[in-house]
Structures are given as structure tokens and as C-alpha cells.
């Protein structure tokens, strides 16, 4: 059953915590400066590591002399790739095709460098300063090789090869089509037919996804203590469990010998979802030196070496009838991997392949992807991972279709989107959306936005030839979140399961430890998970504590990425809590001298139906611990483990509307209003949900207007600091207006959907659609992200030059 209501207002009496905007219990430590970041740690005898990074994009190393550096004051050791024969190749977890090419990728490069920032040597010294000083004394000569930075050029015959041994820059090709999936018709045939049918239109566009980077504010930092029986690694990572297993699979250490701890972690957004060379290096050097070692990257190193994201060229073809009904979609994608493969790199565009059909009924679909290597930093997951790219593609095309058919962009969407009675809906891309109500969210957004008034204002300003034009942009989106059924991931050749684990331990005094396999880096897990457990067990919120982010105490987990913490991890917690209740039930029955069948469990209390007699689960726990009088054969504990493997992904949706003002004289774009109505199912903590939405929107707007990782033709990173990579500050963004509709997920017991990625997914097309909406009357038909003043200004001038030329020749 799909329950829909207008807002998350009706709080369930049985569930007093869920839906409550509780202030976060994690705040106090951060507000008082008592947080513990990895870089805050100092251990006895600790040495500091610094790494030497390549200043050139592609070269063979002809000289690499570390002797002078090794003699420098305070230096404990210097190593190159040749000096570390025990280093193992860095693993990739996603082999998207059988013939996928995996280039050699070691913690320290051996013999050659493939991008600016590639690691050449590592120094250990008694202080960070001494290590950095010694780096300058390493004598290295590079024999520079030809460079390729553009993914389309990389595909061409005769292009410089990033990895000559592979004989090609093509990493993998991968495809999807509705005929083989049995989900629809032949898109190529439908497009051919449309081309010769006067009642149909075919719209073709090539769109670019700018290369951006997660830009978490806390630089990555790693500390390894090799002095105890179990080696401990503290790392600013989103994925301590994954780091441990990949370390054991690739480097000379066994899994049981290593404990990985993610202490406080400052942001992630996918950027800290990586098993990094620096992590491997600190471990290798610490084991060699047998003393604790620390490495903390600088911001400039982070910009060069932490993975980047997006960077795609999308060639899209959309066919539709003249009434706006879509008949086919074809997507040909070129995705830039950068020089190496991280753990998910090749799989990111693949995830997008499932999402190009958006919220629409598309009867025929083909997707073809070419992953290519270039001499740039590798790409990998970033807030949305593949889905923002896909959403951008389809949502830009919906606007192009609207222009082609002279329809309102909302109307063209309305004519195609899946209606509430069609759920569960099997898409042409092979997914099954469980629930949704796109009319409801869109109507609410339109009303909040004042769509008609803004259109009227736009007309007035167009007619008046106002130098500041108004543009309105829309994005109606659906997300694929919460990785997800393990068997599906297996089918996609992803080397990991999609389950999540939790243990719940009732303590003798009735307090509760919740152990989670996901870790938080700002998402408020301690608060939200405690709310869930408080409702499930009926114990006070303050009686619950969360333990996570440490492989020693939370021994199983798949960590935090892809908005899976609540929709997958939260269900593991619910499952464990329900098992605790079931374990307590016979003990409660025994205490109450009743039959278990006569017991009901409400608000944390077992009571005998129809009587006043009862006992709380916390009292049951004390009696269980005493174990003086337990029913025969029962274990004296109320602990439970649960591993949840979801039956489906989670499909949050929503409608975003942006109003932008474009100064046609300067090219400057200002976002005047932004309304988003999200449908993320049941809200556990509306305050946290809003915060996630705001953060995501800001990152999405930043992709559309400000941020871009830029390389010169020589492969030099020209936006390598926060001074030239424009992370927005407070004056660059605005106060968002958010609304909610609730269409419960039908695939989990709480009815929740994911939220963390929605803003970053929906904002880029909403903003770019708005910018183009403002500029179309001036003849501008395309613009690439980020829509910087100079680009907008140039587009306006080129368009006016075209029209004048046209006028002259005509």
C-alpha cells in the first residue's frame, strides 16, 4: 500500500520519536572544540610522512636519487617505488565489463607518472617540516611524454596513450538497452522512424558534465600505530570496513591484523569513499619503521590527488510525438576515468545508465558508455555518483523538447511522467520504482514558487528588453539511492555486497548500545538512529548510545556512501531491535507468569492483554542479567545482530524550481529564488533532512555556476587551490525554500527513502535550464557548466554575432 499525505505532520503515537526534529546530540563536542580529527592525534614516538608528487602530467622517470634527502636533518627514511617491493597493486572493486582494462596502480609509482600529483617518493621524518624540507632534496628527472586531457580526444586513434602497455585509452565499454532487458522497444528503430515521421520530432544534444571535486573541508589524514598486536589505522575515511578489507586483499597485512578507525570525519560526499594510496603507504612505512606514522595532506595535495568526479560527454537523442509524448531515448556517453581506477571509478557512469529515463514513461531506451583514460586525477564517487549526471542529461533534454514543441517545460514533463496508479513501475532501464507521486510534489512546488507570476514578470522583462533577464528552470527528478540488493550488485559485477549490519546490546541497567556498520561524517547518525531505536524498543532517547566507525567494535559493515545509512543501515537497526524484543518476550512472559501469546509490547512495556500487569523491557533486561530465574534454555542476554539486505534501491524524488537573474551586460547569474519540494518518504528527523537538502543544493548550484577542475592542454591542474576552485561561500548562495510531500517507500518497514544526494542531483539542471530560459530570446541555445560570467557573456555575444551575420547574409 502506498500511503501519501501532504506533509510529514502526522506523527505516529506509537512512534513518538520518528518525525521529530530533535536537536543533534553530536553537536556539543564539535561546538566546544572537543572533536577528535585524525590530524589531532599524536602518539609516542610518532614520525611524519610527506610524499613527493609529480609536477608533470605524463613522463618516464629517468633519475630518482633519494640519497641527499635521506641524509637531511631529522629524516628517518626515504622510499621510492623500487624500494618498496612489498607494495601491492591498488584494487578496484568494480569491473564493469569482462574486457575492462585495469592499469597498474601502486601506492608509489614505479618508473613513470600519469598525472600531476602522482606519487613518486615518500619521506619519513621527526616532524612534518623536516619531511617537507627533505622532499626538496630528492633529485628527480622526468622525460616528458605526450599528454591527453580531453576524453573525446582520448578515444581517437593515434591519441597519446596514458598506459602504452594497454594499447588503448579505452578502459571499458558498457551498454544497456530495453530490447535485451525485455523492458521496451528498439530505441534506434524508433528514432529512425521518428526522423521520417512529420508527426514526430527528434532532438539531439551533446552535453558536458564539468569535472568537479568533493572538496570536503577536512583534509585527509592517516595515523598508523603498528606497535600493538593488532595494527591500528585511524583515517579520515567514510569507509573503515572497506579500507580494512581492501588493505588486506592488496597489501602485505592480514585482515585480523588490522583495525581501522574512522574517528571524527569532516565531510565526505564520496570524496572519502576511497581506499587511498596514502593509507597504504602510511601502513607500509609504519610496519617497516615499527613506530607510529602520520600523514596529513595539504589542501593543494587534496586538489591534485583526492579523486575528482563527473567529467562526461553525453550525446543524447530524444524522439517524441508532436503532443510531447516521448517515444525513445538514446544515450551515448563518454566518461573520463582519469589516469587510474579507484574502487568505484568505472561503475559510476554505469549507475547513471539506469537513471537517464528519469521519472518518465520512455518506451524504448539504449545506453552506451565508453570509459576512457586521460592524464588527469582519477574520478570516482561524488554526491549522487552517476545519477546527477544522468538527471542532468534527461532534464536538459526535457527542456529542449519543450522548446522544440513550444510547450511549457512543466507541461511536457507532466505529459510523460509516471502516474501514481502505475507504481510499482518497471522502467525501460530495468529498475522498478516502488512509489512516487510526481504531480503532488510538482503542484506544491509550483504554488510555493509562484510560477505563473514569475512567468508574467519574465514576459514583461523580455518585452522591455531589460538588461537583467529572468530565467525559470525546473527539474523533476528521481534518485537511485541506498546501494542495494546484493544480488543486483553481483549482476553488475560490483565486488561488494549491498547489505548492512547492526548489533543491539541491552546493558544490565537497561541502557542500550547500538552498533552500526555505517559511519557518520556529519549526517547525524547518533541522533537519527537513536530516534529509531527509541521507538522500536520504547526506551528513552537518552538511554541509547551509538557505536560506529571502528572495525574493532563494529565488526561488520559496508559503511557510508550512496545515501545508504538510513535506508539500508537503518533497517538493519530496526531488524536488530525487533530481535531484541522477541528475545525479551519469553522472559517477560515468565516474569509475568503469562503465556507469550497473551503479551503485547507497546511503548517499551510488555503487558498481559486486558490486565494492568506488565514489565518494561529495561526491567526484563535487569532480570535477564541477574539470570536467577530464567525460563529453561534461554541465553541470559538481550543482544541481537541483524544483517539487512534490501530488496530494492530507494527512489527519492522531488521537484525543484529555480529563478535566476542574468545580467546580460556582465554575464553574471544570480539565483533569486530556489524552491524544492522533496519526497523522501517518511522523515525520521526533519531538521536533519533539511540540512542534507541545503548542503546538497549548495553543491549542485556550485557545479552549475562556480566549480570546475580545469586542466591545461599539458595536463597542468590550473584550479588546484581553494583560491581558484570556487567552493561557494555564504554570499554566493541564498535561503532555499523547501517543502515536503511523503510517499512512503514500500520496500522497507519504516517507509523511508534516501535524502543526501537529492540536492546535488536536481540543482544543476534546474539552474542551467533557468539560465538558458533567460537567454533563449537572445539566441543562446546552449551553455556548459559552470555558467560563469565570462561564459554567459561570451554566449550572448556569439549569439548576437550570429544573428547579425544572419541578417547581413539574408
Amino acid at each position: 500500500m502506498t500511503a501519501t499525505s501532504d506533509a510529514a505532520t502526522d506523527r505516529d503515537e506509537q512512534r513518538p520519536e520518528i518525525g521529530r526534529a530533535r536537536l543533534r546530540r553530536e553537536d556539543a563536542r564539535a561546538l566546544t572544540g572537543r572533536t577528535r580529527w585524525t590530524d589531532d592525534m599524536t602518539l609516542p614516538g610518532m614520525v611524519h610522512l610527506s610524499v613527493l608528487r609529480s609536477p608533470v602530467a605524463h613522463a618516464t622517470i629517468t633519475t630518482l636519487d633519494t640519497a641527499p634527502a635521506a641524509r637531511a636533518p631529522g629524516v628517518v627514511g626515504v622510499w621510492t617505488g623500487e624500494d618498496l617491493p612489498e607494495q601491492g597493486a591498488m584494487p578496484t572493486a568494480w569491473t564493469v565489463s569482462e574486457d575492462m582494462k585495469t592499469p597498474p596502480y601502486f601506492p608509489l609509482s614505479v618508473g613513470a607518472v600519469k598525472h600531476v600529483g602522482d606519487i613518486v617518493a615518500v619521506v619519513a621524518a621527526i616532524s612534518k617540516e623536516a619531511a617537507e624540507d627533505a622532499l626538496e632534496l630528492i633529485d628527480v628527472d622526468y622525460d616528458e611524454l605526450p599528454v591527453v586531457v580531453d576524453p573525446l580526444a582520448a578515444k581517437q586513434e593515434g591519441s597519446p596513450l596514458v598506459h602504452p602497455d594497454l594499447g588503448t585509452n579505452v578502459c571499458a565499454t558498457w551498454g544497456l538497452d530495453s530490447v535485451s532487458l525485455g523492458t521496451g522497444g528498439d530505441a534506434a528503430a524508433a528514432i529512425r522512424e521518428a526522423e521520417s515521421d512529420p508527426d514526430q520530432v527528434v532532438v539531439r544534444r551533446t552535453l558536458r558534465q564539468n569535472r568537479i571535486t568533493p572538496a570536503y573541508i577536512e583534509p585527509r589524514s592517516i595515523v598508523v600505530d603498528p606497535t600493538a598486536e593488532q595494527v591500528t589505522m585511524w583515517s579520515a575515511t567514510q569507509v573503515p570496513h572497506i579500507v580494512r578489507i581492501l588493505m588486506a586483499m592488496s597489501q602485505p597485512i592480514e585482515e585480523h591484523e588490522l583495525r581501522v578507525v574512522a574517528p571524527d570525519v569532516g565531510g565526505g560526499f564520496g570524496g572519502k569513499l576511497q581506499f587511498t594510496r596514502e593509507e597504504a603507504l602510511v601502513l607500509l612505512i609504519a610496519r617497516r619503521l615499527r613506530v607510529p606514522c602520520k600523514y596529513t595532506e595539504t589542501r593543494s595535495e587534496s586538489m591534485q590527488s583526492s579523486h575528482h568526479a563527473r567529467d562526461q560527454v553525453q550525446e543524447l537523442t530524444l524522439a517524441a510525438k508532436r503532443d510531447g509524448t516521448i517515444t525513445a531515448l538514446d544515450v551515448d556517453l563518454t566518461a573520463d576515468m582519469g589516469a587510474y581506477l579507484g574502487i568505484l571509478t568505472a561503475g559510476i557512469p554505469l549507475l547513471g545508465g539506469f537513471m537517464f529515463t528519469g521519472i518518465y514513461r520512455i518506451p524504448a531506451y539504449t545506453f552506451h558508455c565508453t570509459d576512457v583514460f586521460t592524464n588527469k586525477t582519477m574520478t570516482d564517487a561524488y554526491r549522487g555518483a552517476g545519477k546527477p549526471e544522468a538527471t542532468f542529461g534527461i532534464e536538459r533534454m526535457m527542456d529542449e523538447l519543450a522548446v522544440e514543441l513550444d510547450l511549457d517545460p512543466i507541461e511536457v514533463r507532466r505529459r510523460n511522467w509516471i502516474t501514481p496508479d502505475e507504481f510499482p513501475y518497471a522502467t525501460a532501464a530495468g529498475l522498478t520504482y516502488d512509489s512516487g507521486n510526481y504531480d503532488q510534489a510538482t503542484d506544491k512546488a509550483l504554488e510555493m514558487f509562484g510560477y505563473d507570476e514569475l512567468r508574467a514578470e519574465q514576459r514583461r522583462r523580455r518585452e522591455a528588453r531589460d538588461p537583467v533577464q529572468l530565467g525559470i528552470g525546473v527539474c523533476t527528478f528521481v534518485e537511485l539511492s541506498g546501494l542495494a540488493p546484493s544480488r543486483v550488485l553481483g549482476g553488475l559485477n560490483y565486488g561488494s555486497g549491498g547489505w548492512e549490519h547492526s548489533s543491539i546490546r541491552m546493558l544490565p541497567t537497561g541502557k542500550v548500545e547500538v552498533v552500526a556498520g555505517t559511519t557518520s561524517h556529519g549526517q547525524g547518525h547518533a541522533t537519527a538512529f537513536s530516534q529509531i531505536v527509541a521507538d522500536e524498543l520504547g526506551v528513552p532517547f537518552d538511554d541509547i548510545v551509538l557505536i560506529s566507525g571502528d572495525t574493532a567494535s563494529s565488526h561488520k559493515g559496508m559503511d557510508t556512501y550512496g545515501s545508504r545509512s538510513l535506508v539500508v543501515g537503518g533497517m538493519a537497526i530496526v531488524g536488530a531491535a525487533r530481535k531484541v524484543v522477541e528475545k525479551a518476550r519469553p522472559i517477560a512472559a515468565h516474569l509475568l507468569e503469562a503465556s507469550t501469546d497473551d503479551l503485547e509490547f507497546v511503548g517499551g512495556r510488555f503487558s498481559v492483554r486486558g490486565t494492568a500487569s506488565g514489565v518494561t523491557i529495561q526491567e526484563v533486561m535487569l532480570s535477564t542479567w541477574l539470570a536467577h530465574d530464567l525460563p529453561e534454555g534461554l541465553e541470559p542476554n538481550l543482544d541481537a545482530d541483524f544483517t539487512f539486505d534490501p530488496e530494492n534501491f530507494s527512489y527519492p524524488t522531488g521537484t525543484h524550481l529555480a529563478a535566476v537573474e542574468v545580467d546580460t551586460q556582465t554575464g553574471r547569474v544570480t539565483v533569486r529564488d530556489y524552491v524544492c519540494v522533496q519526497d523522501v518518504g517518511v522523515l525520521v528527523n526533519p531538521m536533519i533532512v533539511d540540512g542534507q537538502v541545503h548542503g546538497g543544493l549548495t553543491q549542485g548550484i556550485a557545479q552549475a555556476l562556480y566549480e570546475e577542475i580545469q586542466y591545461s592542454q599539458e595536463g597542468q591542474l590550473t584550479s588546484g587551490t581553494l583560491a581558484d576552485y570556487l567552493v561557494p561561500a555564504a554570499p554566493d548562495v541564498l535561503r532555499y525554500r523547501t517543502g515536503t510531500t511523503v510517499t512512503e517507500a514500500t520496500t522497507n518497514t519504516l517507509g523511508v527513502k534516501a535524502v543526501g544526494e537529492t540536492g546535488a542531483t536536481a540543482a544543476p539542471p534546474a539552474i542551467v535550464n533557468a539560465v538558458l530560459d533567460a537567454l533563449r530570446p537572445l539566441g543562446v541555445t546552449d551553455i556548459t557548466m559552470p555558467c560563469t560570467p565570462v561564459k554567459v557573456w561570451t554566449a550572448i555575444h556569439e549569439a548576437s554575432a550570429r544573428t547579425t551575420e544572419g541578417a547581413v547574409t539574408a
Partner: protein, 161 residues
Amino acid sequence: MARITVDVDGMSYTHDVEPRTLLVHHLRETLGKTGTVVGCDTSNCGACTVLVDGESIKSCSVLAVQADGAEIETVEGLAAADGTMHPVQQAFHEHHGLQCGYCTPGMLMRSVCFVRENPDPSEDEVREGLKGNMCRCTGYQGIVSAVMAYSQAAGEQEAGR
């Protein structure tokens, strides 16, 4: 080496420092005051903001020797001795002005200084006032609301005196 004395959150510290040591490293590494953090190497992010003689400054952009004799306030000294949060901390808590918390020490210190200079700011003024501090998590909305609320609370406190 140069001998310097700094007063940090009410305690006086005298140390020999290398002339090249940045104030932020002196605070974090020598004094163990790790509440103040580093986010960049270009003085852009503001994560390291502290108050030096009442002025908010990015502690990665001054040398420790330049702070000789100064009175420095960091996030660790904001709450009262009994643990009661400073109104700016309370406002950030109530308005969800932080997520991961990494930018938070700098944001708080900047906010204290900003509200002192501009006790009754508009929302735009708050945004301008915080432009040297980056937050990647919150989208600034919670932070801006928090600073508005804090300025009101601070104003009321003044009026009540």
C-alpha cells in the same frame, strides 16, 4: 628560535618557536589546542579562525612570533567553565548550523567577532560577514539562521544589562 608568550583562553604559555611556525601550528602542535583546525594552505577556508586581541584572524596566515604578547581566544574557551555553552554555540546547536563540524570552530569565532562589530545585522550582512569561512556541509542556511539568532540574543543580553 624566538621566545614568545601568548595568552590562550585565559592561560599564559611561554615557548621557544621557530620563526617560520604559523600561529595555528603553535596552537595545535605545541599547545595541544586542537580545537582550532586547518582546512587549506591558501587562507581561504577560515577553518583556523581565532580571535587575537578580539579581532577574528585566520591563524594560518600569521606567524606565532607575530602573536607574541597577544590574548587569543579559541573555540575551546567559548563555553563557560561550568560547561554552559556560549550563546553563539547554543544558536548553532538550535539552528542546525553544523553537520560534520569541521568548519565550526572557525565559524563560531568569526561569528563572535562579526556580531560584536555589527550587533543587528541583516541576513545579507551576515552572509557577507561570513564570506571568508567555507562550509561544505550545511549550505550555510543553518549557519546564517544561527548567527541571526545569536545577534538577537546578544542584543537582548546587552539591553537587559
